[in-house]
Subunit: 359 residues, 2 copies
């Protein structure tokens, strides 16, 4: 360790400082190492140390390396509060989701998990902002408090008042999923439409023609897009649709189960459920009347989370690219915060997974 005092001495100095000044106990055992200490031990000023550590240009290579080495060996971790205060960036992003959806919809949970992971990878903190009453206010406040830099929000809530408020609010944001009426908001989205076409095509390929559809909540864009995919797939192949086989679901097992009980009387050969939960509900109904999937009827879903759910059947479905989606959302938000102008809409094509419920 060239230049400056040795590690041992500094440690000693720090210990003395602590005991002498009777520092108020911090949350950690040992007082954290500060930039000043790194600088001192590296024999440079705090300014230079800061620049070296933050990859700012204009630092001699050997100096940079020395500082970095010292920082590492000291286990230096920059104090985020100080960094935040002086830089204006907190490096925390908010994840805004409707509180109820989280409970009902495994999709929301998978998304949450993926965003948490990707945020961590980019060294961004993730503040959970489950919206109950006044989410827009809460977000705006948190933003004003300097606690978060911006938010990622799930479009599952698009349509509810608060999301509309939020979209209008001057808050750096990225939507996961699309908004039906607005194209002025950054969003990352999945090809719901084409993916549904391909899963219906898959059923056609099995020789199935009389296909039922349990749609999702009509207020949600993904549901609308999937419903459209169902129709267009038929049109493209010239297969007529029996309108009585199309029923409006709400993405839940319970409703899908009830709807399927009705549908089964019409003897469809397959059921296209708007999501995996609905597919599971459908399968339950089929089993209740003693029939079997896929021998008596094929069932397909959407999302690709049934396996994780501990569901015991190998569902044919479309796998949401959760991690890609989340990664893109995080990086898009970060680039907005950096003053860049990422594309307003970014699409990802999900993957079809053929399972045992359709073959």
């Amino acid at each position: 360790m060239q230049g400056g005092i040795g590690t041992v001495e500094l440690c000693e100095a720090r210990r003395m400082k602590c005991s002498i000044m009777n520092q108020p106990e911090r949350n950690t055992l040992n007082t954290p190492v500060t930039l000043g200490e790194v600088a001192q031990l590296s024999g440079v000023s705090r300014a230079t140390a800061s620049r070296a550590l933050n990859g700012r240009e204009g630092v001699k290579q050997d100096v940079r390396e020395r500082v970095q080495l010292v920082a590492k060996s000291l286990g230096y971790r920059p104090n985020k509060a100080a960094k935040n205060l002086s830089s204006g960036r907190s490096s925390i992003i908010g994840l805004v989701m409707p509180s109820e959806e989280l409970i009902v919809d495994p999709y929301a949970i998978s998304l949450l998990q993926a965003v948490a992971k990707k945020a961590e990878e980019r060294d961004e903190g993730l503040m959970l902002m489950l919206s109950h009453d006044e989410p827009t206010l809460a977000v705006r406040n948190t933003l004003m408090d300097g606690l978060i830099d911006g938010v990622i929000l799930s479009s599952v809530a698009v349509g509810s008042e608060w999301v509309e408020d939020m979209l209008d609010a001057q808050i750096p944001k990225v939507l996961i999923g699309a908004h039906p009426f607005r194209d002025d908001i950054h969003c990352v989205n999945v090809e719901n439409f084409e993916a549904t076409v391909s899963i219906v095509d898959h059923l056609f390929d099995q020789g199935l023609r009389r296909i039922a559809n349990i749609t999702g909540c009509p207020s949600r864009v993904d549901a609308i897009e999937r419903a459209k995919g169902f129709r267009v797939a038929h049109e493209r192949r010239g297969v007529p649709i029996d309108e009585s086989l199309i029923r409006e679901g709400d993405f839940t097992q319970a409703v899908a189960c009830r709807l399927t009980e009705e549908l089964l009387k019409l003897e469809p050969e397959a059921i296209v459920a708007a999501n995996d939960e609905s597919a599971i509900g459908a399968i339950r109904a089929v089993e209740r009347i003693g029939q079997r999937v896929p021998d008596d009827i094929a069932v397909v879903g959407f999302d690709g989370i049934t396996f994780d759910q501990g569901f015991d059947q190998d569902l044919t479905t479309v796998c949401q690219p959760f991690e890609e989606l989340a990664g893109l959302a995080v990086s898009t938000l970060v680039s907005i915060l950096s003053g860049e102008s990422p594309p307003l809409e970014q699409m990802i094509a999900p993957q079809l997974r053929i399972g045992g419920t359709s073959i």
Copy 2:
């Protein structure tokens, strides 16, 4: 507004300052109001304003009120980074959960939601820390960064290495659920044992005697406690247990479904599932062989989240007091952080909910 300049003038002043100094654009439209501005407009020093706003004693009543009024009318929001830096408290708590559990276990999600709500109510930010590889390290780092003050962790992960590490680490923490071998850690817990006794008693009251049990993961304390409850309930009533009716599950639908298929051959009159997911799996198995719940067999669960899950049956279960649990966890952590010594273990008795699957 007595003392000091008027609101209009200050606003004017601020606007000028912004435009003249060509302030770097913050994340918000208008530059946030600072303590200095509140103080100036109130005709006091920043020190006094700070004391007044933070409810510190030693401020004349009328001064306090004036400052508070000014702060309110200006929409003052203290900058958290600054507050954090000078006070050493971030007012953010971490919620640590195993990433996988979140996907598999609705219990974890309900807990997450409840903790988010309660943290918000206490004006504590909630940082989500889903643990993948090195959670202890991540938590310790985040703590050292000054980003979080402490953590709440779910005991669903007790037994995994990282939790054990975490428990030993010098991190302010509260466990939700118990730890099998340690009583030196603050935890809030539910009466799993007694609750299970009471739900089995309920089955006895229905005249049922031949009762099966699908347990939870043997590594989890709640599973152990519930399994014990099942046994003790029998002992207390003097009802013999058929050991072949006790099977080890893992809290998932899939496994419970498979186990139930086996159990049904032994013709039990009822199945006590260790959680609602298992109960749902059991019901699926029952329906598959064309039998009905509760006519042919009664099924009960634990957790009380099936209703929200969109499950269409009214399950008899024990309702976890999620909000109480979460509220207690948050307040316990806060009191630890304040240097107080809350009780190490706090128990809550959950409520039995009689549904249509057992009567």
